[in-house]
Amino acid sequence: MELILVNLIDGLVTGLLLFMLSAGLTLIFSMMGVLNFAHASFYMLGAYFAYQISIALGFWMGLLLAPLIVGVIGAGVERYGLRRVHQYGHVPELIFTFGLALLIEELVQFIWGKNQMPYSVPEVLDFTAFSIAGNSIPAFKIFMIFISIAIFIGLLFILTKTRVGMIIQAALSYPRTVEALGHNVPLIFMGVFGVGTALAGVAGVIAGPVLGTFPGMAFVLGSIVFVTIVIGGLGSLWGALVASLLIGWITTFAKSYNIAMSDILNGIGIATPENLGDSALRDLWTVTSPQIADILPYILMVLILIFRPAGLFGKRES
C-alpha cells in the first residue's frame, strides 16, 4: 500500500518534468504549426549550460542563467532559422528542426566530449526529505515538484490574466487578424519560441542531476514529448498537464508492478498453451509490464488518434 503512495510521487515528478517540456512545445506547435524536433535538444543544452555555470557560480546561478541563455538561443533559432524556412512550408520546417537536433547533439559532443558529466544535486538539497516504508524520497524531487508547479501557475496566469497572454491566445487562432490589429506577430512568435525553449532549459537544469547529463539525453527523451502533446490535444496547456501526469503515472506503475501478459490472458479465460516453448506466440505470453512500460504512451497515442483525433482536451484536429 505504501508503495502506491511512493509511486504516485515518482509518477508526479516524471509527469511534471514532461509537462515543462510539453508546455512550451504545445504553445509553439499550435501557434506556428512547427513540430519542433529540437525541443529535447534545448532541454539538453539547459543541463549542459547549468553544469558549466554550476562549476563556476554554483547550482542556483545555473538554475537562473542557463534557461535564459537557452531561451535566447531558442529565440535566435526562430529569428534566423525557422522564420526563413517558414516560407517554404511545414515539412521543411520540420526537417530544419530535425537537422538542428542532430547538429546540437554533435555540438555538445564537440564542446563537452562524449562522456557523462558529473553534474550533481546541490548539497543543500542532497538529503532525504522523508521515507515511506524504506523508500526514501530525496529532497531534490520535492524541489522539482515545487518548481514545476510554480511554472505551471505562472504560465496559466500569464496566458489567461495578462494582456500579453490574451494577444498570444488570439495569435494562436487568428494570427492574420492579430497582425491586422497592429500587433507584431513575428515578435510574438519569437517570444513564444524563446519562452518555450527556456522552459525546456529549466527542465534540463533540474533533470540533469537526476537523470544524467550526457549527449544522448535528448534522444532518450525522444519523441515522447510529441506523444504527450498529441494525447493532451494540441495547443491546450491543461491537456499537456493532464497528459504528462497520465504518462508519468502509467509508466511508473507499469514498471513498479510485474503484471505478466499470461496473468491477464488467463484472467479473461484464455488458458496458457501447453507447449509454450514451441508456440509462435510464446513471446507474447511472457511479456511483462515493465518490458512494455515505455511504449504504453505510444499505444495510447495511436488509440487516441484513431478514436479522438483532437486529443483529450483539444478543440481542433491537426
Binding site: L35, G81, R84, V85, Q87, Y88, G89, V91, P92, L94, I95, F96, F98, G99, L100, L102, L103, E106, L107, F110, G113, G222, S223, F226, V227, V230, L234, A280, L281, R282, D283, L284, V287, Q291, I292, D294, I295, Y298, I299, M301, V302, L305, I306, P309, E317, S318
Partner: protein, 431 residues
C-alpha cells in the same frame, strides 16, 4: 537568384509540373548502361558493397517519396515496412526446403508482399486523414513495432537479429551469388525494375490523384475521388517497394536487426529523401547517393562526419528547400534558353572560392577538435593530405586566411553571378 524558376514547395502543383519528365525510354537505357558499367570502373569489393548500399537506399527513398513527395504524407516510421519485408525474406532464407527451390532474385518480391501486407493493415486506420494525425500515427506505430523487435524474439530475433545464407537458394543459371559482384547485379536489376515501376505508378490515374489529394483533398473529393482511398493506395504501394528494399537488404547483408526497424532509420530516410529533393522523381536517387557517401566514406576520414552531415541538412533546408534535385533543375530554363554558357565563368569565379572557404572552415573545425581532444604529444594532424603541428600558430593563420580569402572573393563575385543568373534566365536579348 530570382524566384520565377525555383519550384515552390508551397505550390506543389507547379512543383510536379516542373518535375514531370517526358515518358521517354532514353534516360532509363542510360541508367541501365551506367549500372552495368559501374563495376568495371570501381572493381574493389568495398566499392561494390557501398554501391549496393546506395541502390538499396535508392529504392527505399523512392518508395518513401511516393508518400512524401507525391502523396504529401509525412511518415516517421517508414523503416518498419522495409524492415518487416526484410525479416520475412530472412525467414524464407531459413526455410531450407522452400528456399532451395527458389532462385534468389525472386526473393525481394516476397519482401515487397510482406511490406505491402503490413502497410494494408496500418493504412486501414492511418490513412483516414493526412497531416499531423497521419504523421503521429506513423510515429506511434513505428515505435511500437521497433519495440516489439526486442520483445517478440521468435520473429525478430531480439537484439542480435536473425541471419541466413543466401547461397542456399536454387542456383540461378548456375550462379550461387557467392561474390559481391553477383549481388551487385541482382541489386542493380531490382533498382532499375523498381524505379521504372514507381515512375510508371506516378503516371497512372491513381498516382496522379495522389498529387491532387496532396494539394487539395476537398477538391479531389468533390471530383468524386475518395481522398482516403487514394492515400491508402499510395501507402500500400509505397509499403510494397519499401519491402523490396528490405528484401534486397536481406540478400546483401544476410542479417536483419532491430536497426532496420527503429525510428533512427525512419528519420534517416526522411533526411535522405529531403536532401535529394521531394519535388522530383529522381530527387531521392541523388539524396541516397549523397547520403551514403557521407555516411560511409566521409566517416572513414573524420570523426566529425555527423556534424558535417547535420550542417549540410540545415543548410539545404534553409537555402535550397528543393533539395539537390531542385538545385539541378533550376538550371533547366537556362539550358532551354541556350544561355547556360553565360553561367560557366561566374560560377567558376564564385563557387571555387566558396569551396575553398568551406574547406578552410572545415580545416579550422578539425583543428579545434584536434586541439581539444587529441592525446598529449599527438600534436601532428593531417587535414586535406597536409600534415602539420596543430599546436603551432602558423597552420591556424593559414586556415583563417584561406577561409577569409575564399569567402571574401565569393562575396565580391556573388553579385556578378546573380546578374549572370538573371541574364541566363531571361528570354530574348542578344543571343
Amino acid at each position: 537568384m530570382t524566384d520565377q524558376i525555383t519550384t515552390d514547395p508551397t505550390k506543389p502543383a507547379q512543383r510536379m509540373r516542373a518535375g514531370s519528365m517526358t515518358i521517354t525510354i532514353g534516360p532509363w537505357i542510360v541508367a541501365a548502361i551506367a549500372l552495368m558499367a559501374m563495376p568495371y570502373i570501381f572493381t574493389s569489393n568495398s566499392a561494390l558493397t557501398i554501391m549496393n548500399q546506395m541502390w538499396i537506399t535508392v529504392v527505399f527513398a523512392l518508395a518513401y517519396n511516393m508518400l512524401l513527395g507525391q502523396g504529401g504524407m509525412l511518415s516517421f516510421g517508414h523503416a518498419v515496412y522495409a524492415g518487416v519485408g526484410g525479416f520475412a525474406c530472412m525467414h524464407i532464407m531459413n526455410m531450407s526446403d522452400l528456399f532451395a527451390a527458389m532462385p534468389l532474385p525472386v526473393l525481394p518480391i516476397f519482401g515487397g508482399l510482406f511490406g505491402m501486407g503490413l502497410a494494408m493493415i496500418v493504412g486501414a486506420f492511418s490513412t483516414r486523414s493526412a497531416g499531423t494525425v497521419f504523421a503521429m500515427i506513423s510515429l506511434g506505430v513505428g515505435e511500437l513495432i521497433a519495440a516489439c523487435s526486442v520483445i517478440i524474439v521468435a520473429f525478430f530475433g531480439g537484439e542480435e537479429g536473425i541471419s541466413g545464407d543466401r547461397t542456399y537458394a536454387m542456383p540461378f543459371f548456375g550462379n550461387e551469388f557467392l561474390q559481391q559482384i553477383d549481388v551487385y547485379y541482382l541489386t542493380s536489376f531490382w533498382v532499375l525494375v523498381s524505379a521504372v515501376l514507381m515512375y510508371l505508378w506516378s503516371r497512372t490515374p491513381v498516382g496522379r490523384m495522389a498529387n491532387a489529394v496532396r494539394d487539395n483533398p476537398e477538391r479531389a473529393e468533390f471530383l468524386g475521388y475518395s481522398a482516403r482511398w487514394v492515400r491508402f493506395y499510395s501507402f500500400v504501394a509505397s509499403g510494397f517497394f519499401a519491402g523490396v528494399a528490405g528484401g534486397l537488404f536481406a540478400i546483401n547483408y544476410e542479417i536483419l536487426t532491430e536497426e532496420n526497424l527503429n525510428t533512427a532509420s525512419s528519420g534517416v530516410i526522411l533526411l535522405v529523401t529531403f536532401l535529394g529533393g521531394v519535388g522530383f522523381f529522381f530527387g531521392p536517387i541523388i539524396g541516397a547517393i549523397a547520403f551514403t557517401l557521407l555516411q560511409t566514406v566521409l566517416s572513414l576520414q573524420t570523426e566529425l562526419w555527423a556534424f558535417y552531415a547535420g550542417t549540410l541538412f540545415v543548410a539545404t533546408v534553409m537555402f535550397f528547400p528543393g533539395g539537390l534535385a531542385g538545385l539541378l533543375m533550376m538550371h533547366v530554363p537556362a539550358f532551354k534558353l541556350g544561355k547556360a554558357n553565360l553561367l560557366v565563368v561566374p560560377y567558376i569565379k564564385t563557387l571555387i572560392p566558396a569551396a575553398i572557404g568551406v574547406f578552410g572552415l572545415c580545416a579550422l573545425v578539425e583543428m579545434v577538435f584536434h586541439f581539444r581532444h587529441a592525446a598529449t604529444g599527438d600534436d601532428e594532424m593531417t587535414v586535406f593530405w597536409m600534415t602539420f603541428d596543430s599546436h603551432t600558430i602558423m597552420p591556424w593563420i593559414i586556415a583563417v586566411v584561406v577561409t577569409a580569402v575564399g569567402f571574401g572573393i565569393m562575396r565580391m563575385t556573388a553579385p556578378a553571378m546573380k546578374e549572370a543568373w538573371n541574364a541566363a534566365n531571361t528570354a530574348g536579348g542578344k543571343s
